[in-house]
Structure formats: structure tokens, C-alpha cells
Symmetry: D2
Subunit: 213 residues, 4 copies
């Protein structure tokens, strides 16, 4: 329960503890399940490298600052997002912040936490590319954090929404967009670098209509 | 786990879930134990009247948005604040917000929660009168909330610090300061009114050196 | 120099006092000149109806809180945005807020001003549809303002960027998008209503390549 | 009109452009006039040392982001604060920020400006010690700026209010309080240091009832 080592880079995982119980949630699910295959190992790699993993998650209107309850609620039997949330279960040293609105920065303690950690570089992942990732990227940009969005560790209702959001972040805000296997942390300074920034699709489907099981 | 009824008044309880493990904490303890005798029944009265009770509590540097863990930590065997925290244990319908700094408003979701509840009138209670109550009152004033501070439901290291802080809030910000038994909620609109606003001392001690047991 | 009457609706005009001296500014210019033909009369109509007109304008890195200097700078001889800024010159009763970043809400006094005016409904216009209008609409949405964006009173570098931004605001945030001649203020409560919300193009060009003179 | 050199230290001058047209303003005036004798030369010394001077000033309810108008209004014939404001007239390279409430940080662009300047150390001066200086010091503390308050360059309605506010900042927030002639900037890093931090009175009066002319 220590306050954590300092690190110039942090991984923000947005809204993956989610019962996907909203209109369109059924469309997000297959993409989210593919996302999990990339994001789970990537988060593990970050933890091993000493990069703080910060879950910033919607409070879904409950306002009780209890991430554990949120987790229990979203992994209950019958929750559409159960498998996503279980696959991305936070580790004991991860940080949790509950947010009341789309952006991870709006009315939360994210900025003081990042200052506490000495973090200036953010890697963004999670749901949904064109909403909470997008809003959070906007605010991160205004706060002048150096930003990388992982194209294969975000998901949206459709490929089009996903690609469009990423291409807008690249074109208008010059955000670095790359795949998770292109992130290399320098040993000394834990820098984030990507060989070639480019918008890539959601984690590729193996068949046209992804099953959700 | 519902989002709660709307109410134009809310009770904010600041930093009472606290292990008092800081320099001067041993001086706060006896005053806090007296405070509990007033604040416990007052909070119960507010709950019966349908007034939301919002715990806004320091995260003590842990940043993990788990009020339950904070409660467990502060009520552990040997915690100096154990009896205070246990006597003021939150009820299931209460709200919890973890704050990273002195003010209940700084980098928290308090404003969106109050907007969600339709609240414009705040009753402040808790620890310490001259620090977190004081900072929170300042911010409430700038946000133009109508403010009542309960003189017998706050505590500080000493009577002087307590009285001075309350008298400054009255003189400079025209905050209403009254005792908890002077708060009357109108049935219809749950208004807060006090017969005669005045700064009163900390809950009176029966003997000069209050015991902490 | 009075503080102004209260009004539940306000018109926000974003970044039109602008020398357009940035990469792509030459592409924005022709669209901005068309925008002016709609926005000038619309702002005049709002003023006559008693709706506050609030210019929220980039400080362009100068940080000196002098809107007058910004205006002088942007209307100097040789400024690319001279004709746009002159055509939309603020009236004495208009409000000015300088913003340091994209969003009209980020690190500005816009929220206290709107609370001071009693405003809950915002009409957005100005530059550029896909950047500062977009960011400001995001923040207005999180602050729970009721939002209308005027499709014929915003402009961007291209029709595509403009249309895309508006369609995203409609699809993802359910923002009302309409033309300025579709805004009708009810006499009594100055409500904003639009017959049929739909995303429309930038003010239509009469020829393919609009001249800038 | 350049954006300014970076500096780890900045001088914040609060609310000195002020017509003192409020209840108690006549009591502040003589203390403010003594303050000017110290603050004027100190600000000049800071400018020579390359330390940014930032006026953060109440907008007095006008919301028009025109510091020049505020200055003209407060130095008009008959303004009680005319001589104070004229003696502390901003220089062309100074920064101006209008604030809507007590704290220099509340709903203003002060934080982005300080980040732009690379500033982490603030020297506070101005009016009134127990209100806007006090609120601003609170917020500076929560934002983790290193803080020095100049005891002889602040003023309040009375010596008691002034001394009390400074002693509280020292006791509860461990803010450094010193006289302006105790501030020494190291050549290399423009550090602020004070030989011996202590709360001192307002600039000493030469006679019991200072005249205001």
C-alpha cells in the first residue's frame, strides 16, 4: 500500500471495468475481447518495467469511491463485460481513480497523482476509442502531457469509429498513435518511443463477425 | 447502490476516517472524541430527514480510491483514530469521496456529485477546524455554496485554533456558524436555518485534561 | 460596464479574433469569411434579444488579459484574419474571456461567468469546428450545459473536417446541431429551440474555390 | 509582447489595482500606502533580476478581460485606491490575469502560465493579507508551489488581521514568511531564500494614525 515509485511514464487504462450495459455495448464487446489479448500482456510488461498502471474508470453514477465494488458489479454473473473486466483485473500495486464523466481528467485526482509520480508521459488504452479515450487525450494534450495512444489496445463500436478517432488525434493534435509492440521503454529513463507512429486498426478480427464468447 | 434522491442540502463530513497518525494527532484525539458525541447523532438525524451524507476523506497518500480500505486502515488495532472512525462508520447510503489535498473540492468529484444531487447548501463538520474544514469552506465560498459550519461537530488541536478558524470564517466570509442542535430543516425544502449564528467552542470538556479512552 | 442581466442562454463565439497565422490558416480564411455573413447578423439578433454574447478567444501565447490588444493585433494591416475580426468586432456590452488552450473551459473564468449570468444553455459558434469548437463542446457536455452548435456559423480548414466534427458531436454526444436561422428564442424564457436538428455544411460556397477578398 | 523567459521564481502581486471601494477599504488604505513603499522597489528589483511579475487582480464583477480598463477605473479621479494603483502601475513586460474570486488560482489561467514559465516558486504580495493573499497561499500550497509571503509587502484592515493571517500560514502550512529585503535570488538559479523566516508586521507606521494623502 505504498505510494509508489516515481516514473516519467504511466499507463492509463480507461473504462475497461465495465458491464457494457449501454446501447451499443454489444457491438463494443467483440472488439473489447480482442483488445484484451493485447492489453493484458502489455500491462504486465509495463508492471515488470516499473511503469505505474492507473485504472481510470467510470463510476457509473454510483459516486462511492469504491473501485472494488465497481469491479464486483462489472464481473457479476450475467454482466456483458464480465470477461473483459476479469481478464484485465487490476494488480495490487495498480492505482484506481473513479471518474464521473468522460475524461479521465475531469473532476478527478489524476493530475495530483501524476505529479506525485513525477509523470509527464502517458500511454492511453481502453474503451471507447472515440469517447473516453478521445476526451482524455484532449485533456492530456491541454495539460501538455506527452501522449501515446495504443491503436491495438483501444476499442470502439466499429472499426470506423475507432480509426476515425485515432486519425483525428494524429492529424489535429499530433498525438503519437502506435501498436503496443512498438512501445519500447529505455532502461534508464523509461521513455516511450515508437518506431513509426501510425494509426492502426482495432486488433484484427480473424473472421468477419467476431463471436463474443 | 442507487444514485440517490435530490436534496438542496448535504452534510459534508471531512477527514473523520483518520488514524490521527500525524504530529499533533494526540492533541486532536480528545476533541475528536467529544465531537463524535454530537456528530454521530446529527448525521443520523440528517439521514432520517433524507439529507445526503457525504464523507470527503483524505486518501493519506494511497491513491487507490477504496474508501473501504481507508476505513479498515484507520480502524485497525492500534490506530489512534480507531474509536472516532468506528463511531462515525458510514452507512450504506452515504457517499464517499477521497481527496488528495486539504480541500474537499481540490481535484475531486465533489462538484459534479453536488450538481447531480441538486445541492446548493452545505453543512460542514469534521477535522480539523483550522485546516481541512477551513480550506473546504474557502472553496465552498468561491463556488457560491450556502455554507453552515457546525461549531460543536468540528475539532482541532486546541480550543484556540478551533475558535480562531470559526471566527475568521464568520468575520471574513460571513459563513454561518452554529451548533448542531440549532440546525432545523424545513419539511418542504430541507432548508438549513439556525436561530442565531455564532461561533461556539469545541464540544465542551467535562474536565481539563480529557482522557482518550 | 455593468455585470449584465441574467439569461438562461448565452452565445459563445470562439477564436474569431484571430490573425489566422498558422499552418492551414489560409484554408480556413475563405470559410471564415462565409461564416461571418451568418454569424454577424446572428450575434446582432442575440444582442437585441438580450442574450449575452461571450467572446472566448485564444491568448495566442501573450497572457496579458487584454482583449483590446488581441483585437488590435489581429486587425493590424497585413493580418490574414483582419476582415473576419473586423466584421465580428465585439460590442461594448459583450463579454471577453481569454483562454490559454483549445477549450473555452480550460483554465478560464467561463464557468463562474455563466453561473453569474444564470446560464445553462450555450450556443456555440466560431473557429475551428474540429478543434476549439469541438474541445469546448466536449467540456460543455461534461459540465452538463445544454448545447447547440451552429453549423453555418462555424468554420474549419475543409468541408470534410467541419462536417465530420459536427456529425461526431451529434452521434456521440447528442449535441443539437442546426443552422442559425433555425434558432428561435422563446420570448419568456429565452429558450433555444431548433425545428429539426441536423448537421449542415459550412456556409455554402457560391463557387468551388472561394476567393478571400 | 513576447511570451517571456523561463524562470523558476515569479512574483505574484494580488489585487493592488483596486479602488478600495468596499466596507473597510478606508482602513486598508493607509496600510496599502505603506506597503507600496516596499513593494514598488521590490518589484523593480525582481524585474531587473529577470523574475516575471504577474499581477493577478480581481475583475470586480466586470468580466471583460481588460486589465487596462481595470487600471483606468481604479486610478480615476476620486478612486480611493488611486495612489496605490498608480504607484504600482504594471510595466510593459509584466503579466496580467483577471480573477473572478478570492484565490489567484480559482478559474484563472495562472497554472498554465506558471507551467509555461517553468515556475515552481512563488513570492506573494498585495491585498489583503487575510483574504486574497490567504486564499491564494492555500491554493498554491495544494498545487505544491514553494511559497514565500512578504510580510512588509502585504496589507490588511488592521495589524491584527495581517499578523494573524501570516502566523497561520507559517504554523499550519509552513509557508515561509519574510521581509522583502530578506529575499535573495541566487544568480544561477534565481532561487528565493530568506535568512530567517519570521512573521513581521505590516510596514511600520511612523505615527499612530497614518494619513492617507
Amino acid at each position: 500500500m505504498s505510494a509508489g515509485r516515481r516514473s516519467d511514464t504511466a499507463l492509463l487504462i480507461i473504462d475497461v471495468i465495465n458491464d457494457l450495459d449501454f446501447p451499443g455495448g454489444e457491438k463494443v464487446l467483440p472488439w473489447a475481447l480482442r483488445m484484451v489479448e493485447r492489453l493484458g500482456p502489455f500491462a504486465a510488461r509495463m508492471r515488470r518495467a516499473g511503469v505505474p498502471v492507473i485504472y481510470v474508470n467510470d463510476n457509473f453514477g454510483y459516486w462511492r469511491s469504491n473501485f472494488r465494488d465497481t469491479y464486483a458489479h462489472c464481473t457479476r454473473k450475467g454482466s456483458r463485460g464480465r470477461n473483459v473486466a476479469r481478464a484485465l483485473k487490476p494488480e495490487p500495486d495498480d492505482y484506481f481513480i473513479l471518474k464521473p464523466k468522460h475524461s479521465a481528467f475531469f473532476a478527478t485526482s489524476l493530475v495530483p497523482l501524476l505529479e506525485h509520480l513525477g509523470t509527464r508521459k502517458l500511454i492511453l488504452a481502453g474503451l471507447a476509442t472515440n469517447l473516453c479515450i478521445f476526451f482524455s487525450a484532449h485533456d492530456a494534450h491541454m495539460h501538455e502531457y506527452q501522449l501515446t495512444v495504443l491503436s491495438d489496445c483501444c476499442a470502439a463500436e466499429s472499426d470506423d469509429d475507432h480509426d476515425l478517432a485515432l486519425s483525428q488525434l494524429q492529424r489535429f493534435l499530433h498525438v503519437r498513435v502506435c501498436r503496443s509492440d512498438e512501445v519500447h521503454l529505455s532502461a534508464k529513463r523509461r521513455r516511450v518511443s515508437a518506431k513509426r507512429p501510425h494509426a492502426t486498426k482495432q486488433a484484427p478480427r480473424k473472421k468477419a463477425a467476431p463471436s463474443t464468447s
